[in-house]
Amino acid sequence: MALKIVKGSIDRMFDKNLQDLVRGIRNHKEDEAKYISTCIDEIKQELKQDNIAVKANAVCKLTYLQMLGYDVSWAAFNIVEVMSSSKFTYKRIGYLAASQCFHENTDVIMLTTNQIRKDLSSPNQYDTGVALTGLSCFVTPDLARDLANDIMTLMSHTKPYIRKKAVLIMYKVFLKYPESLRPAFPRLKEKLEDPDPGVQSAAVNVICELARRNPKNYLSLAPLFFKLMTSSTNNWVLIKIIKLFGALTPLEPRLGKKLIEPLTNLIHSTSAMSLLYECVNTVIAVLISLSSGMPNHSASIQLCVQKLRILIEDSDQNLKYLGLLAMSKILKTHPKSVQSHKDLILQCLDDKDESIRLRALDLLYGMVSKKNLMEIVKKLMIHVDKAEGTTYRDELLTKIIDICSQSNYQYITNFEWYISILVELTRLEGTRHGHLIASQMLDVAIRVKAIRVFAVAQMATLLDNAHLLTGNMQRNGICEVLYAAAWICGEFSEHLENPVQTLEAMLRPKVATLPGHIQAVYVQNAAKLFATILKNQEGNTDSTAAQETSQMMIDRLPLFVQSANLEVQERASCILQLVKYIQKLQQKDVEVAEEVSALFAGELNPVAPKAQKKVPVPEGLDLDAWINEPPSESESEDEQPKAIFTKEEPKHSRPRHTEVDEKELARRREARKQEQANNPFYIKASPSSQKVYQEAPGVEHIPVVQIDLSVPLKVPGLPMSDQYVKLEEERRQKERAEKKKKEKKKRKEKRSGRGKKHDSGPESEEDITPAHVVDIVTEEMPENALPSDDDDKDPNDPHKALDIDLDNLLETTARRPLADSEKLPVRSHRAAGAPKSPAEDGEAENATPQEPKKKSSKEKRDKKKDKERDRKRSKEEKKKKKHKREEKEEDLLGGQAEEAAVQSEETKEVEAQPSSTSAEVSDLDFWLSNAPVPSNTQEAATVAAAEADPAPEAPAGTAADSEPEEPKDTETEESKSSKHKKKKQKKEKEEKEKKKKKKHHHHHHHSDGGGEESVQNGTVEEEEPLPPMSNYCLLAENSYIKMVSDGDCDARLWKFVLLSIC
């Protein structure tokens, strides 16, 4: 044995240590990979030895190689070995390696549980510290569950060094094992007032992190944080608290009022820029939440804006950046105060720093008006030309489109200008936003009827020059605009100047190189064009022209019939056959134009984005039912979820400048006159004024310049939109003159004219009227669309998904009384799980009142009522469906006995809760309405807890007799918020509960398979999974059976509940 050790240490002398490895790598620059692979072989040999020192050295080297990008997961077991060394030196190496390369799917992690537990309870504080640090990086749900109790104990360790680490790691534990939050929370709260500033800071950190995701649950801590804010001198803590208040104020406006004064004081007194900045930020949040109703409101806004201006003007670029960032927050609610600093913001657009330019761009959104839109966009267009890297240029592009299209094109007075801007933007090479330009083109062309003639002409030019757009570079998103161009030319083909030429352009062989979905649109719209041409040509006496067109279609279409893209192929072959048939008829001199154009008759109207969602589900249609049996698991595994209709990678196209020929311009002028004549605003204009417009020298002059451009311009710098800027300026001048005249004479008439012009956006104080009637067609909604107010809540919002974990754990836990099954926070399957001390139980129960406090806000109560109303409505809709199911399921459930039990339980809970809730409500109310900070909040909370305590006992008692493993019904915002009503109208309540029962049946129905067994047993009653849940949630558990649920439990829909029994 001794010999072995000696041998080991001799070996070790010849081993490379980390420094040797690094040196070696540096000396083998030319064949680094080869050198490292020999090193890894050596490491493998070292790991095979028994000597722990050798192993630790090897693991240390592996950690370094991991940083260089080498996969070292094969050594995971050796890392665990080193972690379990008794020597701190090696242990530290092991934990470091583990923290760098372990993750949830590392299978050896489950071997570490006991080792970590041992280290956590080690007498050496640094063993514990190292274990906590390591664990914070690789904690898994299993580890969190098994070690939650140990870590909780450490939160009260005598050494602050351990305490602060234990407090901090609890956040990770909560994330992985949400059930631990409730029992741990009282202790966490206690740590907010820990004598050690480090521990205090850690607790603040954790609570801020929790509250950020789900602020409403932490509103009750506001008094405590307020006290900390006024007493703490640690800037880190202050910043965190102030940030937390920023998240809380939107929920409780009264809190905001209380905060304004101390925050303003801090702003004036602090020398730390970071603190000042966060104060300003929170004051902004407060002001946003108050938005009105504060007497000295404008003073605070002024203070903020003024401070921010100082930041923006500072030579320190960091402060400038942050100033702009905060400005954009004010912009949303107080645009006026920001607008007064327009000069400064426009100046920042020219900053050399991209980060700052981006921030300034964000602010531009609020800076535009009808008056300056063109000017600002012109400036941005210059930036677009200058911008190098694509990120910033793409950002510019989206911003241009954003500010132009905001609030229904409110600030656009001249759509010809806008279309030309869009056309100019197609010159951008390599942008990702081709589809954005395309959708704008489509939107404008569809919704602004007056612009169609102009748009069609522009699009035809674009199509004609498509060969220049589609350059050599692959993956260029810009050719997406051809999609829009083809569609617009097809759909509004009656406005085309030379439809045959456009048709020819759309059927060029080069088109076949475009992405499939664009080709498909080309083919379809070629058919539309064809119909229009036929219609035009059939009027003529000479029928050969029409037949030539048909022949051209027949000649060109086969190219598309051969396309590899199914959509293109199908459309092309359909249309080819159609044209062949038409040709036959033409040869017999039959008039076909009418019938052909009937194929494409009817106008397409824009559809509201939410329209699809609002189509009511027809009665009897079950959207969740399988149409066919689901495919077997193995099949679906290798199939990537791939949307069928995804767009192909767009190919490159080079943008080009559009030519404008004389005819077109004449037409355009004509059309403009026409529109203006149709414009209610222009009806009043005297004919003479239109003449003036026509004869204005500038108007005549500029187009001539354009005509001379025989060669399509690719040169940036001669943007044709300028032309419209000038035109527009003249138009405005003329208008102003006109208006002056009119104001004197026809005041009344003008007002009525304005009244008709309903869609052109709110009349601003500037006297600019749009050149076109912005006949923005309202988007269509389906008939019998369901009215609902929850449109804005996107169930797929990732933030909401984050919210769920914590929301769930707090809502289901703290708000309702404890149930039997929940007394142990550890969902432990092993006896080793430390049993909970009674003290901890007591704490757990104390957690109960944390929640009800937040109900103090009146608003929230109202919200909940709304929610409930919604839910009721949806329930009623589903009533019929459920009714049928109910009948089926009742047998399965084995009678009504359990139902009755549940019902009585619910009733009791409902009756028990109001007392505690009202106590809490008055508590926070008291604090908010009184100036001094009460220090006895916690006492009040305990009193309330005492009141609440009887509640769990009673229902638990009843439940215990009949079904001991019955979990408490997740007692539910629904019953709670409606408790007032319930008290008054008991009958109504009973009805509601019947409905609830139905809901239970509904769930069982979905659970089929696995769930069936338990249902038949009648032992497990499913609870209502009200709050949305993202991960498995324990429903019920006894020694034989455990029931967990998972699914996208959209509280409103009661769909997709997955039950598993294990």
Partner: protein, 154 residues
Amino acid sequence: MIKAILIFNNHGKPRLSKFYEHYNEDTEQQIIRETFHLVSKRDENVCNFLEGGMLIGGSDYKLIYRHYATLYFVFCVDSSESELGILDLIQVFVETLDKCFENVCELDLIFHVDKVHNILAEMVMGGMVLETNMNEIITQVDAQNKMEKSEVIL
């Protein structure tokens, strides 16, 4: 939360990488490369905040960095962190390194990456700031190093 802490030199060679969320090795290398690419092309006197990292983060995340001689110190953080606070934290980190290594230079980081990790572990834990007081950090680091030495003698 801090999502990642990276240190690399002017040529993009990683000197320390600490990810508080799991990525596989290839992605980690890509993130380092991308971050280096973003950071290195910025002038000296521009702001220290950067958006637009594709691989790490998303809209809520920012890169906050400082450039010292040959090294870039980059923190990837979300909106719960104070921007200026993190800048201060980087400063504290570098000053601590300076104290621990006595006039720190890139070579110290190259050859003692494990020690840098140990120092960092006393400042940031699991993506959350643990300690900002330099003296406290140094005390704890020294105490642990002392323990290590005593074990070697044994």
